[in-house]
């Protein structure tokens, strides 16, 4: 089983590199539309017009543990927000669950310039984080609440607080237990792997687009493999 896993990883890495070269040569691929991210861009325009800040939450995860990849996806959105904020003067307020993710927030602030928004480290406890982030929403009154990353049930508290303050939201989570809450409480949501595609959609970076392409190809391979395996198992071959 380990040998199969190693082979899978090697093939994935190879295809990732090939996809990166393809994107560099042929340009950006056609991506299916994602209404949530289109709404996010509209929200940026409204933020420019109104001068109100954005609130970005990269999830209740850490950098260095099991949910690192989802946290990095949320940090990718935060990087995009800071980039736009530095260009157009949009204040970006961000709340963090873990200090390892908070350090990335300071890094973005240093790279793209201070936007006028604050960086809040709330607490490494999910319930406390949700309550603290809700309080930040109440005080800062952002024009858009962006919550993307590894969330637990505390997401509901944060999103309902934003809803009660009349804020627009774009949210995304990867935990299937939380996805029903994401879908029901926000109108613009990103489900599962769409969280990882957000950075590619927004920044159009070749490396991010290569990741999206590689994921799609590997998914097709897995679907074919599962289908063949089910058929063979049903027929009693394996």
């Amino acid at each position: 089983m380990n040998e199969l896993s190693v082979a899978f990883l090697l093939f994935f890495a190879l295809f990732l590199y090939i996809a990166f070269i393809e994107v560099r040569i042929r340009g950006k691929p056609n991506l299916r539309p994602m209404p949530a991210l289109d709404f996010l861009k509209e929200g940026l325009q409204r933020a420019i017009e109104s001068g109100r800040p954005l609130h970005v939450s990269p999830g209740t995860g850490t950098v260095g543990e099991k949910d690192t990849a989802e946290t990095l996806a949320g940090l990718g959105l935060l990087e995009y927000a800071h980039r736009q904020g530095g260009l157009y003067g949009i204040p970006v307020t961000s709340t963090f669950f873990h200090p390892t993710a908070m350090l990335s927030g300071y890094d973005f602030k240093r790279r793209f310039g201070p936007t006028g928004g604050r960086i809040y480290f709330i607490a490494p406890e999910r319930g406390i984080y949700a309550a603290g982030a809700a309080e930040v929403l109440k005080n800062e009154r952002p024009i858009l609440n962006l919550a993307l990353g590894p969330f637990g049930y505390e997401f509901l508290l944060l999103s309902e607080a934003a809803e009660s303050y009349g804020l627009d939201q774009v949210a995304g989570a990867t935990d299937p237990a939380v996805l029903p809450f994401v879908y029901s409480s926000t109108e613009h949501s990103l489900i599962g792997e769409e969280v990882f595609a957000a950075k590619a959609y927004l920044s159009k970076e070749p490396k991010a687009l290569a990741g999206v392409i590689a994921q799609d190809v590997m998914r097709f391979i897995l679907i074919i493999g599962i289908t063949v395996g089910v058929i063979l198992k049903t027929l009693g071959v394996i």
């Binding site: 350090l103 480290f121 792997e193 994921q215």
Partner: protein, 204 residues
């Protein structure tokens, strides 16, 4: 050179821990375990940065009399109280005062805050199921059957309980597996991008 060294360190460290997962070798195990311990120590020191952020952010809010500055005073005082007693007591964070604060302040507050989830889940569901879409209708139907299955404990409607178990085990699990596969692929792609040096979540 300034850009190459961080990428090189990240790639080598990641590949070493990954190899340690697949290959059993004493030296590789030692190196992998050491790298993981270093990562834990660095993450622990990141909490110091978090502490400083809390202190300076809330102090600034108090000085500038921003909205909700009274709560910032409470945060600062609570932080200092736990810090001071945690250092002063011989048992440290397991001492009497800190344990008392946790057991009779933090734990009830947290439990209460999350108890509100039930109310928020209901209002979110109420709002979602009023939408006239196919997805909302399917979600409403499934939710009704599962809730009836949970409520069957106090009645003799045991078939509803069996139906609930079937819904949770078969169709819901199928959807969950599909989402988990996609998420796993996304996690793998993100991790591999960092391992091969294509992407770096850190700055130069």
């Amino acid at each position: 050179m300034r850009k190459v060294i961080p990428i090189l360190v990240a790639v080598l460290s990641g590949l070493t821990v990954l190899a340690d997962f697949f290959i059993t070798h004493p030296i590789l195990d030692l190196v992998g375990r050491t790298l993981l311990q270093w990562a834990m120590i660095v993450a622990a020191f990141a909490f110091v940065a978090g502490l400083l952020n809390i202190f300076f952010t809330h102090t600034s809010r108090v000085f500038h009399r921003e909205k909700g500055w009274g709560y910032s005073i409470v945060v600062i005082l609570a932080m200092w109280a736990v810090l001071v007693f945690g250092f002063l007591e011989p048992e440290g964070p397991h001492g009497y005062v800190v344990s008392w604060i946790f057991r009779y302040v933090q734990y009830p507050l947290q439990a209460t805050v999350m108890a509100l989830l039930a109310f928020f889940a209901l209002s979110a569901g109420y709002r979602a199921f009023r939408r006239r879409t196919l997805e909302s209708t399917i979600m409403l139907l499934t939710t009704s059957l599962v809730l009836l299955g949970y409520a069957a404990i106090m009645t003799d409607l045991w078939p509803m309980s069996a139906l609930k178990e079937w819904i949770l085990s078969v169709p819901a699990m199928a959807g969950v597996r599909g989402i988990l596969l996609g998420v796993a692929l996304g996690i793998t792609a993100t991790g591999l991008r960092i391992l091969i040096g294509m992407d770096k979540p850190y700055s130069d």
